[in-house]
Symmetry: C2
Subunit: 314 residues, 2 copies
């Protein structure tokens, strides 16, 4: 029985790494710059070099490491194959196999970054104590990760948990990055909330403290103004959150999780946001006599490294 595990969350700018006990205690974390040039061929060797130094520093022997989990910002096939990962420059690669070779045979596993973040929140974050959770990240986009009976639902074609692209809004005529219209992401991402606020400000003469920010207005300002009772900001947030809640209701009628864990930059609005979501969610789920909990994520940007580490413990 090994005592340690390692999480490696590979992003387009930096690779976040963490050394954990198998109980989920973070021993050390560090970052490595993501060198994307030359098809990203240096990324894994760079990570391996830094990791070897860290294991040595903490006097952790290779055979005391249960495994290394790799989180990748893109689709991963069930056998660990990554056909393309635009953000890293990767093509046609089995990252776990390559990493195993670099790390003298330590077992490695690969997962999609949004899915492993959900696993992290289940392990020691907002979803602790549950084994069926849906984690939603409200950031620049809207990501999702679905865990059923403790396992990631990656999907047959890598689309499991793509809840950001569920269609929920018929009156949205702009196109989403996915090619669709009216996606959850267009309504409830930081970008989407800000756009909705600007639309609402443009169509009314109503005074609003959001106007004081001029062109510098951010999603965070919209949330702050809404909390302070600003009418236009509140209307904006209610619209956006109602579409998000509609999406969560749809998810409930598919996998019916024990809990929804809400993270990402927008979730910094805190319990105020959760209460808004829960209100609309209840309206959209008349069939659900017992409602799932809706809670805040607690691991922030570290959810990825926690989840990657947890990935190797099954």
């Amino acid at each position: 029985m090994s005592n340690y595990c390692v999480g490696v969350d590979i992003g387009g700018t930096t690779v976040k790494c963490g050394l954990f006990t198998v109980k989920g205690e973070l021993i050390d974390k560090w970052e490595v710059v993501t060198r994307k040039e030359d098809g990203g061929k240096n990324i894994l060797p760079d990570v391996a070099e830094a990791l070897k130094a860290k294991l040595s520093e903490h006097q952790v022997a290779n055979d005391d490491v249960a495994g290394i989990g790799l989180g990748v910002p893109g689709p991963v096939e069930p056998d660990g194959y990554v056909s393309v990962c635009v953000n890293l420059g990767w093509k046609d690669i089995y990252p776990a196999k390559d990493m195993e070779a670099l790390m003298d045979g330590i077992t490695c596993k690969t997962g999609n970054d949004a899915n492993v973040a959900a696993l992290g929140e289940m392990w020691v974050g907002g979803g602790i104590g549950h084994n069926s959770i849906v984690a939603i990240t409200l950031g620049t986009g809207v990501g999702g990760g679905i865990i059923v009976d403790g396992k990631i639902v990656a999907g047959a074609h890598g689309l499991g948990g793509e809840v950001g692209h569920m269609h929920v809004r018929d009156d949205e005529h702009e196109f989403c990055n996915c090619g669709g219209q009216g996606c959850v992401e267009q309504a409830a991402s930081a970008t989407g909330i800000l756009r909705e606020a600007k639309r609402n400000l443009a169509k009314t003469d109503e005074p609003s403290s959001m106007r004081d920010f001029g062109e510098e207005l951010t999603c965070r300002d919209v949330c702050d103004c809404a909390k302070a009772g600003d009418k236009v900001a509140l209307e904006t947030l209610n619209t956006c959150v109602s579409y998000l809640a509609k999406g969560l209701a749809l998810v409930t009628y598919v996998v019916d999780p024990e809990v929804f864990v809400i993270g990402g930059g927008v979730s910094k609005a805190g319990q105020f946001l959760i209460d808004l979501i829960a209100g609309y969610f209840a309206e959209y789920t008349p069939l659900a006599k017992k409602k799932p909990d809706i809670v805040l994520a607690t691991l922030g940007n570290d959810a990825g490294i926690y989840g990657c580490a947890r990935l190797v413990l099954d």
Copy 2:
């Protein structure tokens, strides 16, 4: 290693039973009348009595039976508890435990009927060869069953696979049985398709062969007229199928199955219906580079007994 398994699909009128080999070959099937009076207390004893006679007739010893699977028309908690099953008169019951006692200790398991039907279609029906499928039953209502990695996704509160109650239609102002509005079931059940046809006939003077059926018009007639090129019938079916396909697209962005298996009375419209669904589905899933297959169910009303039997083989 036992050679046989038994499926018991308990409906409000009859209990369908099947004796199978563990490879999925149906040896015999029979029915027992569902006696719902007295809180349904006779149902399981009646089933047990008939089953003992069948096992004896086929000279199958108890220890050669891997188990008995029970399908129940209502929510089943993860530990097999059924708090209420209106259609059977049951309250506060663990059907599998009671059945084990009646069958001298043969292992029993309980599942929701729509979910086990999906398992049956995966085992030897339309979803054979796959282990992640979503089965949709288009009947009086719209039922769903979700299988991920070979296991039923029953959900934390029994709502897994309730895809019939996903909201997909904003311009539906009638209420669904679930209390919601604009559910998949309202659009794409036999009842829903018929209602849509009547609405369309009422709002146009356009000639339509559907008018020849008068008050006797059925969903099957609507499908037949559409196949024959009737304009109003085609418009009706296109509307209904587009909402169904929207629902399937939403499901894809949650669990991303390998295949959708379409069954129930409406599916008798055959490949014509499947092609219509696939067309709209492609429109609603721009993110899915590889689309899941959409196929017809093949087990008909026997899907339940197959799935119940399969339930005990894990």
